[in-house]
C-alpha cells in the first residue's frame, strides 16, 4: 500500500474566546501524517491534543494556518462538505464511547452506513465484518446499557471501522477501561491498522496506548515539543 501523506498541517493556530480575551490552544503547529500510521498525540491536559484531533476531524476549524486532510482544506469546507468528509473518510472513537442508547449494537454500527445509503445487503455484510473484527457478533441485539465498558468501546471501534475509513481519530479511547480491556482494544485497533492500512491517530496520556504507537507526537501548551518514531512498539 502507498504510504503517502494524508494529513498536512502548516502553521496551525487555534484560539478560543474566553470572556473578552482569547486563549491559544494550538500555536504554530506543523505536522505531516502518512497513510497507515499508528500515531499518538500525547501530552498533559490542556496541551491541545483534543483540539488538534477535532480540527483534523473537521469538527472545528483553524484560526490560522492550513490543515489539509485527504486533499481537503478544512478551513474552506462547507458544513455539508465536512459532514461528507467525516461520513466517508473519518471514523471517531470517544473516551465515553458515545453510543446511541436506544439502538442495538447492530444498529449503532450500521448508523454510519445508513447515511451512505448503501443497500441493506451491503450494510449487513459490512456490519457483520466489523463486529467480527471486534469479536462482538454474539451481542448484535444488545443495547449499550447491557454491555461492559470494554464491549462498548469495541462497538465504538466497529462503528468507526465499518465504513472502512482512511483515518480513525480516537480521543482517550482507553481512559474509562481497565488494563485488560485497554490492551484488548489496542490490539484490535493495531490489527485493523495493519490489515486495512487505516491511519489511527490517538489523543492520549495513557502509558498503555503509548506502548502500541509507531509515532508519538508530544504537545505542550499548544505546541509540538517532540515528534518521535517508536521502534519498539507492541505488535
Amino acid at each position: 500500500m502507498e504510504n503517502s501523506s494524508i494529513i498536512r498541517i502548516e502553521k496551525l493556530v487555534k484560539r478560543f474566546p474566553v470572556g473578552r480575551s482569547e486563549f491559544t490552544a494550538l500555536n504554530n503547529v506543523n505536522l505531516t501524517i502518512d497513510r497507515g500510521e499508528f500515531l499518538g498525540l500525547v501530552g498533559p491536559s490542556g496541551s491541545g491534543k483534543t483540539t488538534l484531533l477535532n480540527i483534523i476531524g473537521s469538527l472545528d476549524t483553524p484560526s490560522e494556518g492550513v490543515v489539509t486532510v485527504l486533499d481537503n482544506s478544512i478551513a474552506s469546507l462547507s458544513h455539508k462538505q465536512s459532514s461528507k468528509l467525516r461520513n466517508r473518510h473519518i471514523g471517531f472513537i470517544f473516551q465515553t464511547y458515545n453510543l446511541l442508547p436506544v439502538y442495538t449494537v447492530y444498529e449503532n454500527v450500521e448508523f454510519a452506513l445508513l447515511l451512505q445509503k448503501l443497500s441493506s445487503n451491503a450494510r449487513k455484510k459490512a456490519v457483520t465484518d466489523a463486529l467480527e473484527w471486534v469479536g462482538l457478533t454474539d451481542k448484535i441485539k444488545s443495547k449499550p446499557a447491557m454491555l461492559s465498558g470494554g464491549e462498548c468501546q469495541r462497538v465504538a471501534i466497529a462503528r468507526s471501522m465499518v465504513k472502512r475509513p482512511e483515518i480513525v481519530l480516537a480521543d482517550e479511547p482507553t481512559a474509562n477501561l481497565d488494563s485488560k480491556n485497554s490492551h484488548h482494544i489496542l490490539q484490535t485497533m493495531k490489527s485493523l491498522n495493519k490489515e486495512l492500512n487505516t491511519t489511527f491517530i490517538f489523543a492520549t496520556h495513557d502509558e498503555k496506548v503509548m506502548q502500541y504507537l509507531n509515532r508519538k507526537v508530544s504537545l505542550e501548551d499548544g505546541q509540538i515539543v517532540k515528534d518521535e518514531l517508536m521502534k519498539n512498539s507492541k505488535n
Binding site: L59, D60, S83, N87, F94, N98, V102, R159
Partner: protein, 390 residues
C-alpha cells in the same frame, strides 16, 4: 426516510415520556373529531329536519313577503294561478297562507302566527292530514312546544282573533286536532296550523297564498309573480348559528391542542438539552446539522403520528358507537335554543374533517418540534460531544 426511521426509534426508545405526550395529543385529536363530528351531525340533522318540515327544496315567496318583518305579512298574498293549482294537485307544491293573530289560551293573550296549509299536501312532513275539514268545526294543529307554552292538549278549544284582508277584526274558536312533535322551533313556537281553505275564508283571501313550498318532485322553473328562495337563503340563519357554535368549540379545541403541543415542546427542549452528546455524535458520524435538526423535528412531529394511531385505536370504536347510537339530547319542550335540536344527535365524521384534523395535528406538532430543534444548527459539535450546555 432515514430521519423518520431514526425519529421513531428514538421516540419509542424514550418510553413513558413519549407515551404520555402521545396520549395527551391523541385526546386532543379524538376530541376535535368528535366535537366537529357532532356539530356537523347536528348541522346535517337540523338542515334535513328544517327542509322536511318547513322549507322543502325551496320556497316561492310573494314579492312583498319578508319572514323577518311581520309588517309585510298583511300585504303578502296573491291568488294561486291555474298553473300553480295543477302543481298543488300533483303534490309538487304546497301553498301556505300566513297571517298574524292573537290566541287566548285559558284567558291569556298570546301572539301567534296562523298558517293555512293544504290538508292534502305531501311536500312537508307536517301532519296536515289531521285537519278535518267538513264537520262544521274549525280545527287546528300545533306543535308540542306551542302546546306546552299555551297549556293546550288535543280536544282543547282555543280562541283566535285576527284581522281579515279588509282590516276587520274577527274571532273564532278552534279545536286542537293534533299536537305534533317536531324538532324545528320555527315550525312549532307560536305557530297555529289551520286548513288552508278555512284560513282563506277567515281572512277573506279566497284562493290566495303567501308562499309556496316546493317538493323534491317539483321541476324547478320560474313562477310568475313569485320569488324563488333556495335553501341556501332559507337556511342561512341556521348555518350562521352552527358556524358560531363551531367557532366557540374551536376555542376549546385550540386550548386542548395547545396543552398537548406544550407538552411536546417541553419534551423537545428537554431532549435537546439532555441529548447534546448524541447530537455531537450524529455530527461526528457525518450527519449535517440540517439532518440532525430534521431528526429532532421529525421526532417531535412523529408524536402526532403515534397520537393518530393511538387515537384511532380507541377513537374509532368509540366514535362509531356514538355514530350508531347517537347522543341523547332529550326533548326540549320549550325549545329555548331556537335552533333545531333532535332528541338524539348522530355525529357525522366526514373524510374532510378527519383529513383536516390529521393535518392540523401533524403540522402543529411538527412546527413546535422544529422551534427548539433550530438551536442545533447553532451548536458547536466539539462542545456538544462533551455534553456541554451551549
Amino acid at each position: 426516510m432515514l430521519s423518520l426511521k431514526l425519529a421513531f426509534k428514538n421516540l419509542l426508545g424514550a418510553g413513558l415520556r413519549t407515551w404520555l405526550n402521545v396520549l395527551a395529543l391523541s385526546f386532543a385529536f379524538v376530541l376535535i373529531i368528535f366535537y366537529n363530528g357532532m356539530i356537523d351531525g347536528w348541522n346535517r340533522q337540523a338542515q334535513r329536519d328544517t327542509a322536511a318540515w318547513e322549507t322543502g327544496v325551496g320556497q316561492f315567496w310573494h314579492p312583498a313577503y319578508d319572514k323577518y318583518d311581520p309588517f309585510t305579512i298583511e300585504d303578502s298574498h296573491a291568488p294561486i294561478s291555474e298553473d300553480i293549482l295543477k302543481e298543488i294537485e300533483n303534490k309538487t307544491l304546497a301553498p301556505v297562507l300566513v297571517s298574524q293573530a292573537t290566541a287566548y289560551p285559558q284567558g291569556r293573550a298570546m301572539s301567534v302566527t296562523l298558517r293555512g296549509i293544504d290538508p292534502e299536501q305531501e311536500v312537508l312532513e307536517l301532519p296536515s292530514s289531521k285537519l278535518p275539514q267538513s264537520d262544521g268545526i274549525d280545527y287546528a294543529i300545533i306543535g308540542k312546544s306551542m302546546a306546552h307554552s299555551a297549556n293546550l292538549e288535543v280536544g282543547d278549544k282555543l280562541l283566535l282573533r285576527w284581522r281579515d284582508k279588509n282590516g276587520t277584526f274577527d274571532a273564532r274558536e278552534v279545536e286542537i286536532a293534533d299536537v305534533f312533535k317536531c324538532d324545528v322551533p320555527s315550525v312549532d313556537n307560536g305557530q297555529v296550523y289551520i286548513a288552508l281553505s278555512n284560513l282563506q275564508e277567515m281572512l277573506a283571501m279566497e284562493n290566495e297564498a303567501t308562499l309556496l313550498v316546493a317538493g323534491e318532485t317539483f321541476e324547478m322553473r320560474e313562477l310568475e309573480g313569485w320569488d324563488f328562495k333556495d335553501n341556501e337563503f332559507l337556511l342561512a340563519d341556521l348555518q350562521a348559528i352552527i358556524d358560531s357554535k363551531k367557532m366557540g368549540g374551536s376555542v376549546l379545541q385550540g386550548l386542548l391542542l395547545i396543552i398537548a403541543l406544550i407538552a411536546i415542546f417541553d419534551t423537545q427542549v428537554l431532549s435537546i438539552f439532555r441529548r447534546q452528546k448524541e447530537i455531537g455524535t450524529y455530527i461526528a458520524l457525518g450527519m449535517t446539522r440540517a439532518q440532525v435538526v430534521g431528526i429532532f423535528t421529525v421526532e417531535g412531529g412523529a408524536h402526532s403520528i403515534l397520537a393518530i394511531l393511538l387515537g384511532a385505536a380507541y377513537g374509532i370504536p368509540l366514535l362509531l358507537l356514538l355514530n350508531k347510537n347517537g347522543i341523547g339530547m332529550g326533548y326540549a319542550e320549550d325549545m329555548a335554543f331556537d335552533i333545531p335540536v333532535a332528541e338524539a344527535i348522530f355525529p357525522y365524521y366526514s373524510f374532510r374533517l378527519i383529513l383536516m384534523t390529521i393535518m392540523i395535528v401533524v403540522v402543529t406538532a411538527t412546527i413546535v418540534s422544529y422551534l427548539p430543534a433550530r438551536k442545533i444548527s447553532k451548536m458547536k459539535p466539539t462542545e456538544a460531544l462533551k455534553g456541554k450546555l451551549q
